[in-house]
Every structure is written in C-alpha cells, then in structure tokens.
C-alpha cells in the first residue's frame, strides 16, 4: 500500500492538472469538449461545467499536488532516504552552481518560448495588457490555424525545404568524401594543408557576405560573369544577358553551388580525420598483396569511412525540416520572381513575423509548430535507426 501512494498522488495531480487545462481551454461549457446530452446525463454536464468554470484553479491545485508529491511526501513516508538525498544534494552544491548560468540561458531562450505553442491553437487578438496577456485571453480555435497546410504556397515551401535538404545531404556526402580521400592521396603534404585552408575558409563567412560575393559575380549590369562572357565573345554585350535575379530556372544550380562552396570544406574535415585514423598496416598489407590505388580506396578507405558516412547522413536527416535560413534569405536578395524556387519554410515564417501585423500570429505559430514537430519526428526516427546500426554513435 505504501508503495502505491506516490504514483497515486502523482497521477491524481496530473489528472487534475490536465482537467484544469482542458477546462481552461474551453470557453463555453456547453460547446466545449465532451459536452454530453444536456437532458439525459445531468451529473456529467454539471461536472463538465464545473471544470470549465474553474480551469485555472484546478490547474493550480494539480501543480500543488505534484509539488507536494515531490518535495513533501517523501519526507513523510521515508525519512532516511530523503535525508540521504538531501545530503547528496548538499555535497554537490558547488558543481550544481556551475550549471546555473547555462541552465538559466536554456530556460529563458529555449523553455520559456515552449508554452507559446498554445498560440497555434488560438485566434490571436491583441488586448490592452500586453502580448502575453493577450495570448492568454485569446479564444481557442482548435486546429483551424493549421489550415495553411492546404495552401499551395506553403506546400511549395515545404517541398522546397525537404527536396533541397535531401539533395544536398547526398551531394554533400559524396563531395566531402571525395575531397577527403583525394587530400589524403596527395604526395605533397604541405600543399594539402593549404588546400584545406582555402576550402574550409568560406565556412567562416556569413551568408550576408556570401550574398555580396554572389552579387559581385552575377548581378545584371555589373556582375563579373557578364564582363567575362563579353570579353570571351559569348555575348556581344553584357546587357544582352538575362538578369539572373529574375530567372528562377538557374537558382537550383546557384543555391547548390553556394551550399557546396560554404560547406564542403567543413564537411570533409571529419572524413579527413577519420582517414588519418585508419591503421597504416592495412594499406601496407594491401599494397604487398598488389592492390592498386583504386582497389585500396574501394576495399579499405570507403569501408572504413562507412560508419561515419552513415552517422553523418542520418544526423543530417534529423535536421531536414530546418532549411538553412541565411542561404535562402540572403542570396536571392528578396527577389519576387525567385520566390517559388528559393522560398523555404524558414524564410516564410521569418517574413511573416517581421513583415506582418499581429493579426495572424495564430497561423504563424501553427506554421512553426508544424516545423518543430516534423523536426522532432525526423530526429527521433533517424536516431532510432542509428541506435540499431551503431549504438555508440546514437545521439541519445
């Protein structure tokens, strides 16, 4: 019996908390959740009305019971264990103090926004007492905020996000592994370092700067591309060239090049390190057996890199819901005709937040909630796969 007290108290608290929350969400008891037939089941109706009217109080009571379960009940039930627990806590106070600044940052910028998810299920109406109070006061509207998923524009953004990420995931893998293997085969080791330095460098430039570089290369009347084509005689005048900022068909290529420009050095570093870690005896043995360069790559290097390749790919899969905001936002420089090709989820949400009034906050929140959930599902499923393949590389 004594053993059962703790879970019972805990779940009681949780149930009251959830009931209170549901009641709090229900603006009108007769219209809200679970409303029974008014005439036949009077007691149930009363119960629902009570919850709907006292939602906030019930939530507080629920939280109170859970806190009671955590901080008071153990003391009452078993003095010894709890004293021991407190002693452990007391002994580790200095180390716990180390955690405080970081925990505070996480709390403020990662946990505090989380309750804001409720906005996705509300119609935001700006009140007089600030945004937070307005969120609390706004009416619930169920899943209506998610109707945006049906619009063609948003479907296009989601498709762009996933397709670009999927394509770049494989392209990035192939390019990075190729660079790493080629680097390891160069005979002049000093120039190897220089190549690595140059290829890694773009990673440290922001996308804003990258947009300058791209602008200098391909802008319509002044870009270097036009000048080069003019002097090579491909076109008679650089004004004959198409304005690339108005021509969406070239942008998948431009974005892909930009993505590889920035990330190929970064991606290849891990593989370079992995190749350096391969034991030389293996190559030695292979060479004595007469294996050529290609055979050594095919039968030693690539199999040795395989686990790393799998892990990196699966981790990239977990990030697939999030597009690289800077790339898609800065490089096209807000050009309207490109939007169909270069618009992705992140830029869509961003432009909605910065560009609009507060009236469609509900839709925006629903949009980003959808992305969060998609990302969450992707991370968990990809991690499950990693755990199957190699448990020591799984994220959790």
């Amino acid at each position: 019996m004594k053993k059962a007290i703790r879970p019972i108290v805990f779940f009681l608290g949780l149930a009251i908390l959830i009931a209170g929350f549901l009641g709090y969400c229900t603006p009108d008891a007769s219209m809200g959740w679970l409303s029974g037939d008014q005439n036949t089941w009077n007691l149930w109706q009363r119960f629902v009305t009570f919850i709907a009217h006292n939602g906030e109080t019930l939530m507080l009571v629920g939280i109170g019971i859970i806190l009671f379960r955590i901080f008071v009940l153990p003391f009452l039930l078993d003095k010894k264990i709890t004293v021991k627990k407190w002693r452990i806590f007391g002994k580790n106070i200095p180390l716990t103090l180390f955690m405080i600044p970081g925990s505070l940052c996480l709390l403020l910028f990662n946990y505090l926004p989380m309750p804001g998810i409720v906005l996705a299920f509300k119609t935001f109406k700006k009140g007089r007492h600030g945004v937070v109070q307005s969120i609390a006061d706004s009416a619930w509207n169920g899943l209506k905020g998610f109707s945006f998923l049906g619009t063609e524009t948003v479907q296009n953004y989601i498709r762009n996000t996933l397709l670009y990420n999927l394509f770049w995931m494989f392209l990035g893998l192939v390019v990075a592994v190729m660079i790493a293997i080629a680097l390891s085969h160069l005979r002049n080791k000093r120039s190897t370092r220089y190549y690595q330095t140059f290829v890694f460098m773009p990673y440290f430039l922001s996308w804003v700067i990258a947009s300058y570089l791209l602008y200098a290369l391909i802008s319509y009347d002044k870009g270097m591309l036009g000048g080069v084509m003019e002097s090579l005689g491909v076109v008679s005048s650089r004004y004959d060239l198409e304005n690339l900022y108005q021509a969406p068909q070239y942008w998948p290529l431009i974005l892909t090049l930009a993505n590889q420009w920035k990330y190929m050095g970064y991606n290849s570093i891990i593989y370079t390190a992995a190749i350096a870690g391969i034991e030389t005896e293996m190559y030695e043995a292979a060479m004595l057996d007469g294996a050529g360069v290609w055979q050594r790559i095919r039968y030693i290097t690539i199999p040795m890199l395989k686990p790393m390749m799998i892990i990196m790919t699966i981790m990239a899969m977990g990030r697939m819901a999030n597009a690289d905001f800077g790339l898609f936002y800065n490089l096209p420089m807000g050009s309207g005709p490109l939007l169909k090709i270069t618009g992705v989820y992140d830029t869509y949400v961003f432009s909605m937040i910065t560009g609009s009034s507060t009236t469609n906050y509900g839709t925006i929140a629903a949009t980003s909630l959808f992305q969060s959930v998609l990302g969450f599902v992707l991370i968990f499923s990809s991690n499950m796969v990693v755990r199957k393949i190699s448990p020591e590389n799984s994220l959790f």
């Binding site: 998810i117 190549y195 804003v208 200098a216 050529g292 790393m308 961003f350 969060s372």
Partner: protein
Amino acid sequence: MNQQSIAPVKTERGKIRYNANGQADLTGISKGSNIVLNILFILLAAFCVIPVLLVIVVSFTPESIITRRGYSFFPAELTLYNYEYLFMQPKIIGQAYLMTIMVTLVGTTMSTLIICLFAYPLSRPDYPFRKVFTVYMFITMVFGGGLLPYFIVVKNVLNIADTVWCLILPLLFNSFWCIVMRTFYQQSVPAALIECARLDGASEIRTFFQIVLPISLPGLATVALFMFVTYWNDYYQAMLFLNAQKDTLQTMQYMCYRALSSVNFLRTQAANLGMLSADQLASIPNEGYRMTIAVVTIAPILCIYPFFQRYFVAGLTVGAVKG
C-alpha cells in the same frame, strides 16, 4: 617505425615507397595523377577564394569604372578612395564596428565561460545530477517552441529587443559546443587528478579554475574561437529584434545586409546625419563603397582564421566523436 631497418620492399605487383622520415608512403599515387589531382585542388581552392578576392578588388575600384565596366578582376585603375571615404565617416561605420567588437568580445567571453562551466559537471562521472542536466539540455536540442514564441519571449517577456542584450544573450548557450567541451574534458582531464586535488583540500571551484581549465585550454580555445565567429557573423538576431529606424545598435553584418538590400541605404544614412550637401551626397561612392564595407567586415575573420585553423579543425574532430 625503426629508421635503420627500412629498405624498399618490392613485390611482384606492388611496391611501397618510404619518405625521408622512414614512414611508409602508403596512400601516395603516381606522379602524373598527383599533378592532375593538384590541378583539381587548385581549381577547387579558386572556386572558394575567387569570390572573396573579387570583392576585395572591387573595393579598390573607382566608382566611375564600376558604372562603366562593371565588377572586374582587372580594373583600369585602382583607388583608395573607398577606404578614405570609409574613414571619413566615423559616425556610421565606426559606431557599427565598435558595436560589433563589443558584442563579440562580451558575448564570446560570457558564452565560453558559461559553456565551460556547464560542460564540466557533465563530464564528471561522480556528479549525481549529470543525467538530469543532460536531459534538460537535450530536450532543447530536439524540440523548440518555434520562431514566433521565441520572438515574443525576447521582445515582450524579457523586453530586451532594441537593446544590446538582444544581440548577446540569445546566443550565449550552445548545446553543440557544450557536448564538444564535455567530450574534451573526459578525454584530457584524468579523474585521478581531480581526486588528488580533492584529497589535498581544494574546493570544486578552485579545482576547476586552477587545474581543469588550464589543462583543457585547447578545447576552451576552440569553443572561444567558434563563439567569436558566431557573434561576429550574426545578423539574424539583429534582423529580428533591432528597430530599423534606430541605427545606433546596428552591427557590421546587419549593416551589410541592409546596404545590399536597399540601393540607397548608405546615402540615406549619410543624409540622415546631415553632414552633406546635395551634390556631396550624389558623389558618395555606392557600389564600391558597399564592397568596402563587406571587406572591412570580413577582414578580422580572414586575418585570424589561418592562424587558428588547427583549433577549428580540432574542435570539429572532437565534436564528431559524439555529436
């Protein structure tokens, strides 16, 4: 490998070369393919570097030539006028530059300290709340409230939009570097050393600052460098939270973003300060000047990067062990 015992081993089909240090050259390729590979790598390096070089050259090109001939690697003449003009405008550029430096310095120091502090107990196997805090950090890595709630929290709850803090605080904690740092502690700080310090009566705080931190200086350097780059390159926070009407808080990256997105941004800004007459205003170099600002913005990164490259590489390699 012992140096004396080395003699080239020849087999029927393969042969092993040895280099001057006596190590077997196991991955080497023939001279011809080496040259081909080098050429390919030179092209690849050019692909990475040429855009940057172009912008640097453009920043030295006079405005008249840009208007007539466009951006080019070999302009008819070079000038320092863009840079002179830049230094004549301490109010706009100087302020943004100081702002960037300040945000970067304060942010890097604070975040490196916070990350190192947070990662240390996580690396201690005898710390009983390790799991609790790992989960606490981990949840934020897989799930977030989304951009809008974050925006509302910073702007309306914490009320730090349009202050310096909105550029510094949101980037302070970084879970990825925290995990890297934790791995680094685990690899470089022996548990016996901490135990010794404890037996000698050193407090946890003293152990950390006098023993653990000095040992893990390379890891700390990596985190600090990456945070430096993060803060220096950040424009996203500014784009979200800074009021476009107020110029006092803008950082260089944000200024670059605005200068490129609106053609006359720099002219308007100069005019707002009211220091110029109408025809002076018209003579402001625009195209080349923009590129000059970009060059000035990336200069510190490009300058420190070659010297600290191995730290960057080391950090990423450690991170890959358990990302």
